[in-house]
Each structure stands twice: as C-alpha cells, then as structure tokens.
C-alpha cells in the first residue's frame, strides 16, 4: 500500500482564518464560545464566525453576496490550502466535501431552498476552483470530517486519484440548535468535555481543509497510517454503553497501522460534553488500553462543529505533533466519567510522534484515524 500524507491545511473559525492563528489561540487558552442573544428563542452559548469579518475576507477573492455563509467559509479555507499545496488541480485530483447539514439554513433564508441540496453546495465549490472531477460528498453525521480523511487515503492508496483536497464545514443554524435543544443536549454554560459538571454541548461554526498526497518533500511529514469506521449497531441517537463501534474503529486503525496502543502519544477525542457520549468514549478508550494516553477534547475551544469537527480537530492534532505540544482540554476541572482517563489539564511541551483522532455520531457511527510524524 502507498504511503499517504497530509500536507497543507487551513482552519476558518472564530479563533482565526488560518491554522496558525487557530493553534496560537488554543495555546493561549482562548475559546470561540460566547453568549449569543439572537440565534435562538433564548440566549445561548455558541462559537460563531462574525458575518462582517467573513465578508471582508471573502470579498478579496469573490462576491460575498452570491455565496452562503457556509460556502464562503469552505471556499476561503480551500483557497488557502490550495495555494499552500505543492500540487495543483488535475483530472486526477479529488475534491472531497464533508458536511453534516450543509446549507440547511437555505430552507428558511434569502437563498433558494434548492441550495440546501448537498450536490448544489458541491457544484459551487467545484466551479469556484475549476475542479475537473465530480465532488465526492460525505454526509455521515458528526464523523463526516474525519471519515473524509479515511476516504481520501483509501482512494489514493488504490490509485483512483493522485491527490485530493478535502474540505469540511458546518454552521450554527436554528435548525440544528432547535433540534439539540429538543433533545435537551445544549449546555447552559460553555461546554465542559469529560468534566463532572458538564451539562451538554455548545455548537460552533467552522470550515477546515487539507491537501492529501502520496508525495511530499516535507522534512517532517504527517502520514495517515491507519483508519477504521465501525457502527455500534445499538441505537440511532444514543451512544453505545460498551463503546463498541468506537472500540472496533480504534482496533481496526491500530491493526492497519501495525502498532500497539502504547505507541499512541496523544488522543484527540470527540468529547462533546454530553453525559452519555463522554462516558461511552471513556469506556472505549479503556477497552482499547488507551486510558494512560494524554487526551483532550477541543470542543471547549470551538464547540461542536458537527461535520467539520473531525477534520478541524485532526488539523490541530497535526500542529500538536509538529510543535510537540499537548494542548489543554479546555473546560476540564474534575473528571466526570466512571473510567480513568489522562486528560491534559495544562498545555505542556512533549516529544510527540503519533496521535489518534476519534469521532462518534448519531446513527451509531464512529471513526478513528492514526497520524504519524515521519522524518525524511
């Protein structure tokens, strides 16, 4: 099997419009989550990209009136990633798009409702950059972003494409907010993953993108060495009580990477801060013998960015490897799960080589992908 690497990357979030700005905000323990008075029937914490800042940045590359908020976020992100990448778009370059709800706000805003169809979103992005292949759109609930990396790796290993640009994005909408509220899953304070005091999720806007290739000249390259994406086969909206699908995904990824759990230096967990999700993850990590591995959830910085989250958090993980830094799991105070976990309580410097990114979502889906820093 060919080696596959992640190279260029860009995060668009309230913490900044490139990866470096985002990572530096995380190092300073800044959160994008603030109280908003006009996004729901009552005030609510969320991590939201300011419209004016987005339009100012977007107007340098396009007409901000004809694109939706999500399209502007995704296009801005990809524009930066494409300009950084060492390859250009060819007829064997894949465009992979990951989103949970896409332009769902088009059901109730000034854009045509047809804009809510995901292929319409795909075409806007394809046309903006002149991609030569049909967009590959993944909509697999909250694992979409990290699953997109696994899909890209598998397509490149089997020679269906030479390289790929992967972009993930989702927005805070009344649609998703009202739905999570009906589940009583929205936290009354900024979310606190894995804490004893957690009361639910905060949601957030983000877009993130990466370039994926079998060829890199970087001296310190990030290789994707294993992946797995397994179902709980248990419940459509409740996490498995045994962490089954997440456990199986981690085992599948470890087996492919041909490494033991103790070779993992860091876990970038999903950690949504709902009672059941965080407990499920703790069980799965213990079953996989990863309970001593330093772990964080980045939801305290971004909220839950749905289909973007796995990709966004994988990019921060890549910067952790490159900077040899373990970033604090923001919002953590007292451990609130029944199994031991090694939560990162303070940002610390540490030599890192390998990390695992995991995510879980409605429909019982789970994904785990392992990344390794290789000197060449």
């Amino acid at each position: 099997m060919k080696d596959v690497f992640i190279t260029a990357n860009t995060i668009i979030s309230p913490l900044g419009f490139d990866s470096e700005a985002n990572v530096s905000a995380i190092a300073n323990e800044q959160s994008g989550i603030t109280l908003h008075n006009n996004i729901s029937t009552s005030p609510c914490y969320a991590s939201i990209i300011d419209h004016k800042k987005l339009d100012d940045a977007f107007s340098k590359i396009g007409d901000s009136k004809i694109y939706t908020k999500l399209e502007k976020m995704m296009i801005l992100s990809l524009q930066d990633t494409i300009s950084q990448a060492a390859f250009s778009i060819s007829d064997k370059t894949a465009l992979i798009i990951a989103t949970t709800k896409g332009n769902i706000d088009a059901l109730n805003n000034n854009f045509e409702p047809e804009r809510a169809y995901l292929p319409a979103l795909g075409n806007k992005i394809k046309e903006f950059f002149g991609f030569k292949t049909e967009p590959i759109i993944i909509s697999n609930a909250c694992v979409s972003g990290i699953l997109a990396i696994a899909v890209a790796k598998r397509f490149l290993q089997n020679d269906y494409y030479d390289n790929a640009f992967v972009v993930g994005g989702d927005i805070v909408s009344e649609f998703t907010l009202s739905g999570f509220q009906s589940f009583q899953a929205i936290s009354k304070n900024p979310c606190q993953p894995f804490s004893k005091h957690r009361t639910g999720i905060s949601i957030g806007d983000a877009a993130a993108s990466v370039a994926i290739t079998t060829n890199t000249s970087e001296s310190e390259a990030i290789q994707i060495i294993g992946d797995g994406s397994c179902n709980d086969a248990n419940h459509i909206s409740g996490p498995s009580r045994t962490g089954e699908g997440l456990y199986l995904s981690i085992i599948s990824a470890l087996k492919e990477a041909n490494i033991k759990p103790e070779s993992i230096d860091y876990i970038s967990a999903h950690g949504t801060a709902t009672a059941f999700n965080d407990e499920m993850e703790a069980i799965a990590f213990n079953r996989a013998k990863l309970e001593k591995t330093p772990l964080n959830s980045l939801k305290g910085y971004y909220g839950h960015t749905l289909g973007a989250s796995g990709l966004l958090e994988a990019i921060v993980g890549i910067h952790s490897l490159k900077n040899n830094m373990l970033y604090k799991s923001l919002g953590m105070d007292e451990l609130g799960v029944t199994m031991p976990l090694n939560i990162i309580e303070n940002t610390t410097k540490k030599e890192l080589k390998t990390f695992i990114k995991t995510a879980s979502g409605f429909g019982g889906c789970n994904t785990a992908v392992i990344f390794k820093k290789v000197e060449q």
């Binding site: 909509s139 994406s229 179902n231 429909g363 889906c365």
Partner: protein, 207 residues
C-alpha cells in the same frame, strides 16, 4: 492490486414495485402513498419489528430494501457482522429536514421534536440497518446528483482491498417529497452475478 468482485444479490424498490435479482416479486397500486405501500409490505412480510413505525420514510425504504436483500443473500452471521455499508442519495435527509423546519418557522407555534430531529441525517438509515442485522462493519454515506456507480465501486473495492470488510452492502436510497427510489446490492469476492460498474449501471437503468 484490483480484485474481481461479484454480486451476491440485488434489490430494487420504486413505483410501488419490488424486484429481486432482476425478477419482479411484488407490485402494488401505483396510486398508494409510499407510507401506505411500506406498511402493506411490512404486514405481508410479517416483520414484527415495531421500531419500523418510528422510522421516517427514508429509513423505512432503506430498511425494507435491505430486508429483501439479506433474505436472498443467506449470509453467515459472522459475515453479516463485519459487512461494510456504503449508501448514497441526492436529497440526503431533506424530506424529513423540511418537517423539522416546519416545527420552528413560527415562534408562536414552536414544537421541535427529538423524534423528528433524529431522522434529519441520511446516515441514520445505515444505523437502522446495522441495528436490525447487528452489523458492526465499515460505514459511509455519500451524496451525489445522481446514482454514481463509479464512486460506490471505488469505495467498496477500497474496503475489500484494504481488508476492512469482505462483503459490502452498496446502493442508492432516495426520498424527496412524493418521489422515492431504492437500489441495493451486495458485493464480495464470490457471488452469483458478474460485477462491474457498467453491469450495475445497466441493472439500475433497466429495472
């Protein structure tokens, strides 16, 4: 290293008719609504699976198609457990998304419901099929303008070549307002019918 794959079984449900491996097995009145059609099929097959009635139309369609397919395929339970599921459609979950949107448009009549919201994700159909058959294999849900047999072939082959799953449930399950269309097929290294994306495209367009 490409592998020659085979089709084990295939099933098509559209226009209130069901065909299995190319043969028509059930035809109902074309004027029936999809929900009435689905209810009749459920009763006639004596499925005794009450969760069916909680599902939205998209999940009902996916569930029924997979019932016929797994019944015909007669797979060993160990194989079923590790089967990959790769499904796709055009409208994602928009058919149910519109219903959820209707519950929040009016601030004076605001009634979002978890029972509706949970179905505002197309991949829930993969969850429903997985629960029914206890499948803990690889999952992916793709969205495309029309059924893209090449994309599904690439991903199913990748899963088999990368040794993630030996059998893959593939297909297209779309529900959008009053229109619906389901086509599912099981592929593996051994099976009764030849497989290629051209063959799949022919079956899809002719059935």
């Amino acid at each position: 290293m490409k592998k020659q794959l085979k089709i084990i079984a295939y099933c098509r449900i559209k226009n209130n008719a069901i065909s299995l491996n190319g043969k028509s097995i059930i035809t109902k009145d074309k004027d029936l609504s999809f929900s009435d059609f689905a209810k009749q099929i459920y009763k006639e097959k004596q499925l005794a699976y009450p969760k069916f009635f909680k599902m939205d139309n998209l999940c009902k369609l996916a569930f029924l198609t997979s019932e016929f397919l797994f019944e015909a395929a007669k797979l060993d339970s160990e194989i079923i457990k590790n089967t990959g599921i790769v499904l796709s459609n055009k409208a994602s979950s928009l058919d149910t998304d519109r219903k959820h949107q209707d519950t929040i448009n009016d601030k004076d009549n605001y009634f979002p419901s978890p029972a509706v919201f949970v179905y505002t994700l197309a991949n829930i159909m993969i969850g429903e099929i997985s629960i029914r058959h206890q499948i803990k294999g690889e999952n992916a849900f793709f969205v495309s303008e029309k059924f893209n047999e090449t994309l599904i072939e690439h991903y199913a082959s990748s899963l088999i070549i990368n040794r993630k799953s030996s059998h893959i449930l593939c297909g297209w399950v779309d529900v959008d307002n009053n229109n619906y269309d389901a086509f599912m097929y099981l592929v593996a290294e051994e099976g009764s019918y030849n497989y290629s994306k051209e063959i799949i495209k022919n079956i899809y367009t002719q059935n």
